[in-house]
């Protein structure tokens, strides 16, 4: 029996759409409802904006939001530049051997928790770098070493993410480059384009979809990430997810809807920034389809 093509198509999409629809969109909707006063753990069940209003009055939230924005932007930008530079620089090597791809997969396969823990052994005040600085006579004691952990600027957090995400962006870019080949660049060369012109008008637009879409994922991931700031960050101001998690698991259940409101705000901010970013890349490099798909 021949199934109608349209029916068949939607049947094949159904499992994936069901998982995301129920467990993600459904979860988000339920979270939004809870943040607006419905299904409260304290038994209340009526529309209220007070959980959002209390966020507006909360100075800790402003500090957290600002820190989260700063660190996510810095880590994403560094990862995008380093990752695409790696991909473009290693393109020839990657074509000849699989070694580069395997090397780049090592950091990808290390869980964030382990990466953060490993980084502590290097950048902590008594870590390898500090000991090296002592051996070379730069510092006298651990306290002289600049703080990279639980520090004001979140340097350890940014470094930890860059080590994980730059290889991710590089791999996505290399995969796209491998699929495209170098015919376009050859054609441009034959037609007399300079190295800069080839880069600006051929290579850059070609790799842009991979870099834009993967950095978008990286930004959303870091904006909502928990593990690394939990281990390498300061208790105040902490990144948004850390604050939301702490309040959500507070023994006082009345705090919970406020924590959910915070998580919803975080999701909305990311969505807005993702939209702005896509707009920006469209304006800058004329990118219509940001996704590799």
């Amino acid at each position: 029996m021949l199934l109608n093509f349209t029916v068949r198509r939607w049947l094949m999409l159904a499992p994936a759409l069901a998982v995301i629809g129920v467990l993600f969109a459904g979860g988000l909707a339920l979270a939004a409802a809870q943040s607006l006063g419905y299904f409260a753990p304290t038994g209340e069940n009526a529309l209220t904006l007070r959980h959002y209003v209390s966020l507006v009055d909360d100075r800790e939230i402003y500090a957290s939001l600002w820190l989260t924005l700063k660190l996510a932007t810095a880590a994403t930008m560094i990862s995008a530049v380093a990752g695409s530079a790696l991909a473009l620089g290693l393109r020839e090597v990657a074509r000849r051997s699989r070694t580069i791809n395997l090397l780049l997969q090592i950091p990808l396969s290390v869980p964030h928790l382990a990466m953060a823990g490993a980084l502590i052994t290097v950048i902590a005040p008594s870590g390898l770098l500090a000991r090296g600085a002592y051996a070379l006579g730069f510092i006298q004691q651990p306290a002289d070493f600049p703080a990279f952990i639980n520090d004001r600027y979140g340097a350890g957090i940014v470094l930890s993410y860059v080590l994980k995400e730059a290889p991710f962006i590089a791999l996505m870019t290399l995969a796209l480059l491998a699929r495209l080949g170098d015919e376009y660049e050859q054609a441009a060369r034959v037609l007399g384009a300079s190295a800069w012109q080839r880069f600006r008008h051929v290579t850059l637009p070609l790799v842009a979809p991979a870099v834009v879409s993967s950095s978008l994922m990286v930004f959303a991931f870091i904006f909502g990430a928990f593990e690394v700031p939990f281990i390498l960050g300061r208790p105040f101001p902490a990144m948004l997810s850390v604050v939301a998690q702490q309040r959500y698991l507070d023994v006082n259940l009345a705090v919970r809807p406020g924590a959910i409101a915070l998580a919803v705000v975080s999701a909305l901010v990311t969505a807005a920034l993702a939209w702005a970013y896509m707009r920006l890349t469209r304006a800058l490099i004329g990118l219509e389809r940001p996704f590799v798909l």
């Binding site: 094949m12 999409l13 994936a16 759409l17 998982v19 995301i20 467990l23 993600f24 969109a25 979860g27 988000l28 339920l30 809870q34 299904f39 790696l86 620089g89 290693l90 580069i100 090397l103 950091p107 990808l108 290390v110 869980p111 928790l113 382990a114 490993a118 980084l119 052994t121 290097v122 008594s126 390898l128 000991r131 090296g132 051996a135 080590l163 290889p167 995969a175 978008l216 994922m217 959303a220 904006f223 909502g224 928990f226 593990e227 281990i231 997810s241 939301a244 998690q245 959500y248 698991l249 924590a259 959910i260 998580a263 975080s266 999701a267 990311t270 969505a271 996704f291 590799v292 798909l293």
Partner: protein
């Protein structure tokens, strides 16, 4: 005649840099696990010992049960992520239809916004149906985070395979199962492996989702790791 060109030197430097940056912290972590005492400012440990490793594998550390839980959750999640992603990826790679962009956007939603809010909502949902503090609940919450990546990667694999190959095999009389076994599967196998390992790793490294949905009852390795760090620091 081939002299080392500047590009070659750059390549070598890049390879050394990647290896150094990623291998150093990991090697040092391994060294520290074998050091019983390693006081400032020595560059090498004073006393090496396998004490920490013996402890990790002893029953009191509770690491082995956590390892088993992590492995079983990650394997179930990987299996289901691939099963769910395969048909969707096939459609997204080979077919054009009006709602395609919307479907792609919907499936990528968990990757484009932080999943914490959704996890909190799912927590409330699971509380109602008794799925919190259960392996199934934890696996379901991980599934949401793995399906987008698996679909994305498998769509890439399918789009590199010409659907006509399947049609040709069928014209030549191959049954559906034979087409899958000798045409489709070999072509998408590398992508399938990448998608599966990605799904496994996402589930394997999950901390917050497991903590919220598993309520510290379902203890995976990341939870044990954090407990260790807190205990020692």
């Amino acid at each position: 005649m081939k002299n080392p060109t500047p590009t070659k030197v750059l390549e070598a430097l890049a390879i050394i840099a990647i290896t150094g940056l990623t291998a150093t912290p990991l090697a040092l972590l391994a060294a520290r696990s074998l050091a019983q005492s390693w006081y400032w400012p020595s560059l090498t440990p004073q006393v090496w010992s396998v004490r920490a490793w013996k402890y990790v594998f002893s029953p009191t550390a509770d690491v082995l049960p956590a390892l088993a839980t992590s492995l079983s959750v990650a394997m179930v999640v990987t299996l289901f992520a691939v099963i769910v992603a395969l048909p969707a990826a096939r459609v997204l790679a080979w077919e054009e239809f009006r709602a395609k962009r919307a479907v792609i956007f919907a499936l990528l939603l968990p990757v484009l916004t932080p999943p914490l809010a959704a996890t909190m909502g799912v927590h409330a949902l699971f509380l109602r149906y008794g799925l919190t503090d259960t392996l199934i609940g934890v696996a379901l919450s991980h599934l949401t985070l793995t399906v987008p990546y698996a679909t994305l990667m498998l769509t890439g694999s399918f789009s590199r395979l010409d659907p006509d190959y399947e049609a040709q095999a069928r014209t030549l009389g191959a049954k559906t199962i034979d087409v899958w076994r000798s045409v489709t599967f070999p072509a998408i196998a590398p992508g399938l492996a990448v998608a599966a390992s990605f799904a496994f790793l996402i589930s394997w490294s999950q901390y917050l989702t497991t903590l919220l949905i598993g309520g510290a009852r379902i203890v995976t390795l990341p939870l044990t790791l954090v407990a260790f760090q807190w205990g020692r620091r």
